[in-house]
């Protein structure tokens, strides 16, 4: 029940299976200050459930280098000031890695975290230029940036058109916010390079009503449509696209389109829609099976069992798999206790890590905090998301050029 989750969030912290006898310095604390109650509710509960279940799984398997993991959970309601409060609290609690799962909250935290050497995980959200580890040494996107997601999507379109993008029309329909406009530089740069016609259609947040945007989209008669929103706006986009006769197998979404959205729009009606995928969905995976056996089936799961294996649950698992791998390297190479700096160094040595195939392999370095920018395209078949491609990265020259340019600008202004 969600109330249980909320109670946990309000309670402020939760030890995950840590034996009481363990010494305090043998516990690695990870802070989750996420939005359980406002804008990102569509993703947070499942994402955080996956994160905590994974940490419980690691603890059940004996931890890492004699250490167990503890999740400190706070609800920010997507408010930057509450995020900052949580950040300050986490510091005093000895947290070594924080996840805010919110672009506005993360952006508010970044300058402090950089100044104070605190690690922040921004997997699949936050500012794209944080991939530049020299400018953002303690910020870890550790997955495909929004810019890389846009690049993967455009490459898919190019492949379907057999490389002939010249003269094709692409409509980018997104939420009118920094997040919605984040992919624009990549779309514009690739449009110029490949010669396709790009037109943008932005709807106001939160996207409850988009009918006029979709009338304009239909008038534009695009060959391909890309939707760039999150939460309720995505459901409405999907619904309006269907009603406006957009062919769903010619419509792709940013990562934030899940089975919850297709269910609301109608499971059958949404058949064919495509999305960027950064982490595999489903339970048929060794890591997820391990969580089911060791945690969920023993009644120690952090949320409803039916959510295990959902798109956002698995993203949460993947995020913690990277964090734990970084902690393992940090502890083994630099010794206990694990400090934020040791974890940072550990994360920067994560190499060819794919969480047993749950996600594309990523390699982080001190200079590159993205790790390759790979993803794949999957398609809704009426019941689940089916991969349409292998993991791949695209246009990384353009993406990393933008990362460098924007990171330079950040450096100058800070």
């Amino acid at each position: 029940m969600q109330t249980k989750l909320k109670a946990l969030a309000l309670a402020g912290g939760l030890a995950l299976g840590a034996a009481p006898a363990l010494a305090q310095d043998k516990v690695v604390k990870i802070g989750f200050a996420e939005d359980f109650t406002k804008v990102y509710t569509f993703v947070t509960s499942e994402y955080n459930q996956g994160q905590r279940d994974y940490l419980s799984y690691v603890n059940a398997k004996g931890g890492v280098a004699g250490h167990t993991f503890q999740a400190n959970v706070v609800d920010t309601g997507n408010e930057p000031q509450r995020g900052i409060e949580a950040y300050e609290r986490f510091k005093t609690e000895g947290v070594v890695l924080m996840d805010f799962l919110s672009t506005p909250v993360s952006r508010a935290i970044v300058p402090r975290a950089l100044k104070e050497g605190q690690n922040v995980l921004t997997m699949f959200h936050g500012r794209s230029d944080a991939a530049d580890g020299t400018t953002f040494p303690t910020i870890f996107p550790a997955g495909a940036l929004y810019w890389s997601q846009a690049a993967v999507i455009i490459k898919y379109i190019a492949d379907q058109e057999k490389g002939a993008l010249k003269g094709k029309k692409v409509a980018l329909v997104g939420i009118d916010s920094p997040f919605g406009k984040e992919p624009l530089p990549v779309f514009q740069a690739v449009a110029e390079k490949e010669g396709f016609e790009l037109q943008t259609f932005f709807y106001p947040s939160p996207g409850n009503e988009q009918s006029s945007s979709w009338t304009a989209v239909r008038r534009f008669a695009p060959d391909w449509v890309v939707i760039w929103g999150a939460g309720g706006g995505q459901t409405v986009s999907l619904r309006d696209a269907i009603r406006n006769g957009v062919k769903l197998d010619k419509m792709l979404s940013v990562i934030w389109l899940s089975e919850t959205d297709t269910e609301i729009a109608g499971k059958d009606a949404a058949k064919g829609v495509l999305r960027f995928e950064g982490v595999a969905q489903g339970k048929d995976h060794p890591l997820i099976k391990g969580i089911v056996d060791e945690v969920v089936s023993k009644g120690k799961g952090a949320g409803p069992a039916e959510k295990v294996g959902s798109s956002y649950y698995n993203i949460g698992v993947a995020s913690m798999a990277i964090a734990v791998e970084g902690a393992r390297i940090g502890l083994e190479k630099f010794g206990a206790p694990l400090t934020p700096d040791k974890l940072k160094k550990g994360l920067e040595e994560v190499k060819d890590f794919s969480a047993q195939g749950l996600m594309p392999s990523i390699t982080l370095t001190a200079a590159d905090h993205q790790g390759g920018g790979k993803g794949r395209v999957s398609q809704w078949d009426g019941a689940k998301w089916t991969p349409k491609t292998d993991w791949y990265a695209a246009y990384q020259d353009i993406v990393m050029g933008l990362v460098k340019k924007n990171a330079e600008e950040f450096k100058k202004s800070n």
Partner: protein, 296 residues
């Protein structure tokens, strides 16, 4: 699609959306007419109505024809309950305190319902076919058409209701509370009924919107649109909110499309804000609101 058909499609779609705004704004007008209080909890009441209907349909397994009336009429009692428990205690307090109370209710309900039912958006299928109606080069959204029609029927029923005996009683209370008391009308009961009716209007609007966008806390954001409609139409005029709903719906559907072609994006919400500002500055009682003249 040439410019004419594009404009026509945008206008029709906007008008239908406007009718749905009107339905929620109707609740604000009903409460204001009876008690002189601007009900800032109306958006959250729409959300509660949608959640209750979803709960009847999905959790209790009631059929659609039972779930919708049950959800909508449950809101009549929720509305009355709010008035009885919270608002009646505020009699004699400054108007600003009462308005703040309704704002507090809005914020509380916005957090409470997702906490009770879970934060994930709920599907509310009220059986409207997804296929659009195509008229030549124009496309009319069936869900908007049905919702607009339902909204129009409910607004007409509200107008008719005000000509019934109970409606006349409400109008009397709205005109002059002390005089109503003096002729034996229960002002408290009248205000309670107006809150109940506001609950019905909110729930109907919430269900219609919820069927389109899913049910979650964002339904409560309809308050801003409803306020814009109520202010433009006149806080005490049912005819006013109908006209204002159509104006706002068409304006905010048409203007952004053309402005965006000049590189100006994100104007849809600006339209509602501009309507509120312009009305308050240039026509404070709205298009059809009754001007109050006080003897000094």
């Amino acid at each position: 699609m040439d410019l004419f058909f594009e404009l026509a499609e945008l206008s029709i779609s906007g008008a239908l959306v406007g009718l749905m705004y009107t339905l929620i704004a109707l609740g604000i007008v009903l409460v204001f007419k009876a008690s002189g209080v601007a009900n800032l909890a109306q958006g959250a009441m729409a959300m509660v109505g949608a959640y209750l209907t979803w709960a009847c349909l999905t959790l209790a397994g009631a059929p659609l024809w039972v779930a919708i009336p049950l959800g909508v009429f449950a809101m009549f009692f929720v509305g009355r309950g709010i008035e009885r428990v919270a608002l009646r205690r505020m009699i004699g307090q400054p108007a600003i305190m009462v308005i703040m109370l309704t704002l507090g209710l809005e914020i509380m309900l916005r957090g409470l319902l997702p906490a009770l039912f879970g934060p994930v958006k709920k599907r509310l299928d009220i059986g409207i076919d997804a296929a659009p109606i195509i008229i030549g080069p124009m496309l009319i959204d069936r869900a908007y058409l049905v919702s607009g029609a339902v909204a129009l029927i409910l607004i007409v029923l509200a107008v008719l209701y005000f000509n019934t005996r109970q409606g006349v009683m409400l109008r009397a209370v709205s005109d002059d509370q002390p005089a109503s008391w003096s002729v034996g009308i229960s002002v408290e009961r009248a205000i309670g009924i107006s809150w109940g009716l506001a609950g019905i209007a909110a729930a109907a609007g919430g269900v219609l919107w919820g069927s389109i966008q899913g049910v979650d806390w964002t339904l409560s954001l309809l308050l801003i649109k409803a306020l814009a409609v109520a202010i433009l139409g006149g806080l005490d005029s049912i005819l006013g909110v109908l006209v204002a709903g159509l104006i706002l719906g068409v304006l905010e559907n048409v203007a952004p499309v053309y402005l965006e072609r000049f590189g100006v994006s994100g104007t849809r919400d600006v339209v509602a804000s501009l309507v509120i500002l312009a009305t308050v500055i240039f026509k404070p009682y709205g298009l059809f609101g009754r001007e109050e003249i006080e003897r000094v």
